[in-house]
Symmetry: C2
Subunit: 381 residues, 2 copies
């Protein structure tokens, strides 16, 4: 057999998807699994009829920047909600999910050998996407603050990636932290990529989009996701907000890689934009309330977790268990049919953690799962 | 401003998309444009109600190999239609369009410096996708046959790409040609990537999928598209058929890049698979019939084109015009509001050609457009 790509061979399967695939296969075999590993919250949302959409257009390609009507809705939303202004014609591109948005942006800004800094725990795909561009991921070990980033900057550093609100800790970066990162970017001529896919999942604290603090987008590149915020993870609709030069480059890459997200779904989202927001908003609040209750229950039974109160994740410590986080999660799934994600998937420095997603199961089920986690920690200490 | 990726900066905009964007902008300004540049055929297809689909699943991620029910339908179809067998569990992955399928496969097999051979004219994205992997595109100049490929093979050659049926010529490769390419692959240990996106657009000649001649898929990697064959270009649903090792690598890349195509559309296609085939089949035949009439009209008015009778494209010569193919197409669009794609987008050796797509306009409109092309050739000779 001819050879394969070394960088792809060496890449690790996305840990969250790996465990969710195991869940899927257990369910196919008729097992009931308590799922606390999903990267999505389950909302009760209607499916509006698609025959109201412009039938002449729904089957065909859209503009490769994305449907203009949807870009305009997003621009209005960012202005009203986040005090961020961008030109819907030239400063945004709608992509087949925010994962593809980040991938195509890395392809558009990185040269081989460039370094990209991010904090651990980090979303599983940042380092892999960086490596697929032959650039070097520089994961800052748990748990350093952004004020310690400068020591990791070298002449090869091209970008800093932040995830705000943070998956998996749920932390929101303050204005002061964001200003500090932008100051670093100005001083060292770096891009700052701000992955804001969970921007609507914030509870009682101020969320500031990075683009608000860099209105000309000289350093800020923002990613967001309609998939996450609308509870339609499987629809794959995300976007990039950046200056015209960056977007032009992402556009070219997009034309060669994907063309556009599914046109029919773009029409649907443009048409039902505000309706869907109104339907999901109280459900997002309920998820954040459940997250707070889960955190309180963890305090009560003595499970510790990283600080943060946003998103629908908690990053919990499994210390003093002797098991690696993968051994821990595999055993929990196989013995107890409870599914969570190993911390090591979020960085080498995070092997004493697991990611818990509270989005899909009820509070009671989450509490049951947490007791199982606590028991397994005790059994293996 | 921090720097951008050199390889992305140097990449050219997909020529077909560039012209279709110009069309889009002219239409926005109220101009009537005769569109013969689209990479899609316009079918009259119904939109079945989506509320019949499994409502609990349509909003969420699917398996990252794609929905199993759809993979099974595709396996049955390939068995019945193309005498090709593949395992729906491990030898296929459904992707967000065949463009993404090819991109992710290049990422999965290529190392920097590898060479990839293909014939010009070639689909615009092959060379750009190859360069985005830091590999080297080796376009074989128009118009050499596959029997001349061996002289382009070097120790760095990793793969040969074929496009069968061919966009833009409409040529179908014979069994003898396919066997020859596979022999080369066996002799030099190469992958053969067969882009079969137009497999259903074949008129009165035998189409042979490469996988039929390499049943263990030791060298053959096949791409196809539900988008093209079902007239739903904007839905972005394609797939890769290959051996388990290749698919495992593509799966990992897909997990970091896209996750899955839109789940709701996968459910729709699995449910209406045969119905849609029955609806589109006579329309595909009508397009192929129209293509034949267009070719006869070109013979009649003295426009020459490359041999081929499949797909909905013709690759026509503009010789002896003095204009480059880009100058020619820009002038035709600006002066006559007829949109076609410059041949140079299909390779440096093809600057005396233009691509004509007969899929969207009527026969009479296509004939009108052809007369305008003929006139511009005469005016600029």
């Amino acid at each position: 057999m001819p050879g394969l790509s070394r960088v792809a061979m060496d890449s690790t399967e996305a840990m969250s998807i790996k465990y969710n695939t195991m869940v899927y296969e257990l369910k196919q075999r008729g097992k009931h699994v308590l799922v606390m590993s999903l990267g999505e919250a389950y909302f009760d949302i209607p499916l509006f009829p698609m025959d109201e959409l412009p039938q002449a257009e729904v089957h065909h390609y859209s503009h490769s920047r994305g449907l203009l009507a949807l870009r305009r809705k997003l621009a209005q939303y960012f202005h009203a909600e986040y005090a961020v202004d961008f030109d819907p014609d030239e400063e945004v591109i709608i992509t087949a999910g925010s994962k593809a948005a980040i991938h195509m942006t890395f392809m558009s800004i990185l040269n081989p050998g460039d370094e990209v800094i991010y904090s651990e725990p980090a979303w599983v795909s940042y380092p892999e996407q960086i490596r697929l561009c032959y650039a070097t991921p520089v994961g800052v070990r748990y748990q350093k603050s952004v004020y310690e980033f400068e020591e990791f900057i070298t002449p090869k550093t091209k970008a800093i990636v932040i995830n705000n609100p943070h998956n998996p800790s749920g932390q929101v970066l303050s204005r002061k932290e964001l200003e500090h990162i932008l100051d670093l970017a100005r001083k060292h001529n770096l891009w700052v990529l701000s992955d804001e896919a969970y921007s609507d999942f914030v509870w009682g604290e101020e969320f500031i989009s990075l683009a608000r603090l860099d209105p000309n987008k000289e350093h800020a590149i923002v990613f967001n996701s309609m998939s996450k915020n609308y509870g339609i993870s499987g629809w794959r609709v995300g976007y990039v907000i950046a200056n015209k030069a960056v977007i032009s480059n992402v556009l070219k890459v997009n034309q060669h890689l994907i063309t556009c997200p599914a046109t029919i779904l773009q029409h649907y989202l443009a048409r039902h934009f505000h309706q869907l927001l109104e339907i999901t908003k109280p459900q997002i609040q309920a998820v954040l309330c459940k997250r707070k209750q889960v955190a309180a229950y963890m305090d009560q039974i003595g499970l510790s977790y990283l600080p943060g109160s946003s998103t629908f994740y908690l990053f919990a410590s499994i210390a003093p268990s002797r098991l690696s986080s993968e051994e821990f999660c595999t055993r929990l799934l196989q013995d107890e049919y409870v599914s969570i994600v190993p911390g090591v998937g979020y960085g080498e420095s995070c092997d004493a953690f697991v990611r818990i997603s509270v989005g899909a199961a009820s509070l009671e089920e989450n509490q049951l799962g947490l007791r199982k986690i606590k028991e397994l920690i005790e059994k293996t200490s």
